[in-house]
Subunit: 193 residues, 2 copies
């Protein structure tokens, strides 16, 4: 298989630069994520505004945020942390989509990627240069894709329709959460409030 030179119609190098700027560094997972998004698009109809799911919190949300119009803050990207290195792009009107995942069986051909993916080698002993070379040579060769039908009720945007003022902190909150906001119910991650 010839080496894949583009990700979503742009040079791989350009994507790596974008990834560095947004993600802070060219993490292996975000580069693989780029090839995964590219593979999904190859099997999706053009001209449809798609929504996205990342099945992990790690790296893939950033690949999706860089390469699609879906972000966490606009609600078109949902992170459903199943601990699987997989992502889905789908039509929000009917749930039809393409799911792309790393197939562990396919990593046998790429020992450095396998070492990184399964954390078989301590980070310090990792040969980063060889790893990045293998990632770019492999492209989406380490992935598989499948058609999926997304359960739309599981991924629809949450609308906090009825907001009120929390009687304790005096901030706004969805009244459906209870008498006081979730923060004042003890769910805030702070020691002093």
């Amino acid at each position: 298989m010839p080496k894949q030179n583009t990700i979503c119609s742009n040079p791989v190098k350009k994507y790596i630069e974008q990834a560095k700027s947004f993600h802070g560094y060219a993490a292996p997972g975000i580069i693989i994520g780029g090839f995964m998004v590219d593979l999904a698009y190859q099997h999706l109809p053009e001209g449809v505004l798609l929504d996205a799911i990342s099945e992990t919190q790690v790296c893939l949300p950033d690949a999706l945020q860089l390469l699609t119009h879906c972000t966490v803050g606009n609600g078109w990207l949902k992170v459903i942390d199943l601990g699987r290195f997989a992502l889905t792009l789908y039509d929000p009107n009917n749930g039809n989509g393409i799911r792309v995942y790393v197939n562990p069986a396919k990593l046998e051909k790429w020992p450095e990627i396998k070492n990184w993916f399964f954390k078989l080698v301590p980070k310090k002993e990792q040969d980063t240069q060889r790893l990045m070379k293998q990632i770019q040579e492999a492209g989406s060769d380490i992935c598989d894709y499948e058609k999926v039908k997304v359960k739309l009720n599981k991924v629809t945007k949450k609308h906090h329709s009825n907001l009120g003022i929390c009687s304790r902190c005096k901030e706004s909150y969805p009244v459906a959460d209870g008498d006081v906001c979730l923060g004042c119910q003890g769910k805030a991650p702070y020691l002093n409030k």
Copy 2:
């Protein structure tokens, strides 16, 4: 109070363009979020690499992702959905941080922002131009800030240290999740797998 012309040292206009490009449109919440991040930075020490918390899934994660090095995919931004329009930037070494929130009492001066914030007017009847004007005039005038101490054990990066192969789907997953992966335990958002 004079109108605030910059967000994190860049012209407000530039931030609005970035927000459009990343978030898809210049949503009121992402513009307010920009002023909130700016206010937090004013009260934080310089030169410290900070982590971030968004207390809502809506808009604020994108403001943080645009203006800080914290993203969902690199793990330095945590979305803890308490339904409050608030964000925190903090030192991950000691948990000391600044939390910024919209103070509903301060919205009385800005009727269009109040209408939007509490959804008092249907979106179609909203005067978007007046709303955006008020948002830019108000800047961080509608916000308050406070010192917080973040519970670091609540926000530390999750590391999936031991990965195995799920006996059902044959994909990688954190073995701590059980005999099969969370997806195969019925948590996947798909109808056909």
